[in-house]
Symmetry: C2
Subunit: 343 residues, 2 copies
């Protein structure tokens, strides 16, 4: 069946609590829900959760793309989804979240047509994945409190936001680690440290036996040599997040041995580049995690299906839908605490 | 539907004419046809065309794997084909042709289950591909004669086998080029030259304005530095064939900038590594061609569907089924001369 129409809809979601990370604090997420309609009325759904901070995306500008995108892909049979993927690759630089949403909505429509869930289109590697939950930047007391609460809800891995003050971060992490024994941590500095600060922090975590799985994006995104310098000095695994948007970024980082892990987000890479990054990283023995922006259950659903289908991720950070107020859950999965079961 | 049985069948095909390449001359192809049966009786078909020269594969040893492979994948739902892919990756070193055949047969069964041709499972990038046809090593006169005949049958690109004598090869190529004006050539030395000979030959082709698209595997497979040396000195594109079996080989060659092109063959890499190589090569701006061993129409069908589905190949060398005597054509495609249309 051919694509007959494309529709964009603006969505606004309030956060339960202020989401504070290095250099950014927000109470509201503004997303664009996209629908791809087929000749026979079938509709595929996807969601773009744009990021100005990471992608330079402006929501009003993305929203204005509706008719352009429709003209680009109208008439294509969803069974030829690679054609849609290729056309959307043209938006990799300027509108990757729209690229992701349209690519996914196309797969969603195909999935309905052929009666095969999207994660099975990718091979159905797993039926279940585990996600962490994020503790955003706050006072030491409130971060400890929140960590205890989240850990007790069954989230074995806590993602801790740091990066605004090395000294305070050290105190906070020690206190959290003390209060949630048995937990595992992903530490995310969101580019907040200098390379030397990052190494100091990595050594501090290691020496204090904090159970850190991954230390994400310690320094500014564009300093690949700096990342390599930190990686080589750090006793714990270093991940790139903001540094990797396209597969070309990933190739450069991998080729130059800059990182231990790559954090793939569909909102940075779309599905096409995500798949390329997965293959490259697996081949080069670089670890993979998958993360999110501010997706609702519609957008998180996309990453859940890619993660389960490919089975490529050592860690999933797919929690934004738990942090925002959503009228109705619309994922094609069932979640209980940290455990996500595919449908 | 779950996999309930796996069957191997030995097949023997005679070549119409002796197939002579550097270091090898053969009149017979011995392949293994594999069938994957599902609970409901659906059968998926694939073919292994083993190579001792490239893979070290011995057909009797491969044939003895039938029950082992069956035990490995029995009970897996073909909708979870990634699980079969992963298990078959264990045979990458020892039995890549069996890996390819089982991976494809699984997809073929899935394709029947969901009513979607295999090339559409890969996204349906193209409905049509073009193949070359091979002129094997022979006397100058007979190679010229064969080239004229093949070119007049509508094969725009001729694949010319060389590598046993630099001086004779130069004379042969000039004569062929003179006799088939307007044609394009892929020159394949199958590891026959030294690095210096390879550079001499590349310069000779360039200076004599022979219309060469790709110069394949000029030197011994294991000399990656030599390939890089040849590539840097050659004015025409250098491809690796025997040097690339797994995705790890490809990664190393790409990372070290050793080649302009990679020749993917499912019989070397299976489908899983082929897909990884495609993503890496596309990202790194390394060209891609797809080739074959001695597959019948059953095995060529596999490569045809991967080539059309991914749309990744600048050149297709999928001609072995035209060189052997086969009782019945069994590809899920229609061919007229060099043009292959998918069904």
């Amino acid at each position: 069946m051919k694509i007959s129409d494309v529709k964009f809809e603006l969505k606004r979601y309030e956060y339960y609590e202020t989401f504070h990370i290095t250099g950014s604090s927000r109470n509201v997420a503004e997303n664009i829900e996209v629908k791809v309609f087929l000749d026979d009325g079938t509709e595929g759904i996807g969601e773009a959760s744009p990021s100005y901070r990471v992608n330079g995306e402006i929501i009003s500008s993305l929203f204005s793309l509706e008719s352009t995108v429709k003209e680009m892909i109208k008439g294509i049979d969803v069974r030829d989804y690679a054609k849609v993927f290729k056309i959307m690759d043209g938006l990799s630089k300027s509108a990757p979240s729209i690229k992701a949403a349209i690519q996914y909505a196309t797969l969603d429509a195909l999935s309905i047509e052929i009666g095969l869930p999207v994660y099975k289109i990718f091979g159905g590697s797993k039926d279940t994945i585990e996600t962490d939950k994020t503790i955003s930047i706050d006072t030491l007391e409130r971060m400890v409190q929140k960590s205890i609460e989240t850990f007790s809800q069954g989230f074995h891995t806590l993602k801790i936001k740091v990066g605004e003050s090395l000294k305070e971060d050290m105190e906070k992490i020690l206190a959290i680690s003390e209060a949630t024994k048995g937990a595992e941590y992903v530490i995310d500095a969101n580019q907040g440290y200098s390379p030397k600060e990052a190494i100091q922090f990595a050594n501090f975590l290691y020496e204090n036996k904090v159970n850190v799985k991954i230390f994400e994006q310690p320094i500014i995104w564009n300093d690949f040599e700096g990342l390599k310098f930190v990686r080589e000095a750090s006793p714990i695994s270093i991940a790139a997040d903001e540094s990797v948007r396209t597969k070309y970024d990933a190739y450069r980082l991998i080729k130059d041995d800059c990182v231990d892990f790559i954090n793939i987000k569909l909102m940075k890479s779309g599905i096409s580049d995500a798949l390329a990054i997965i293959e490259m990283a697996k081949t080069a023995n670089v670890g993979l995690m998958i993360g999110c922006m501010s997706e609702s259950s519609v957008g998180i659903n996309q990453s859940v299906h890619i993660a389960a289908g490919t089975g490529a991720f050592a860690h999933c950070d797919l929690d934004s839908h738990m942090l925002i107020k959503e009228e109705k859950f619309r994922g094609k999965f069932v979640q209980k605490g940290s455990t996500i079961n595919l449908l």
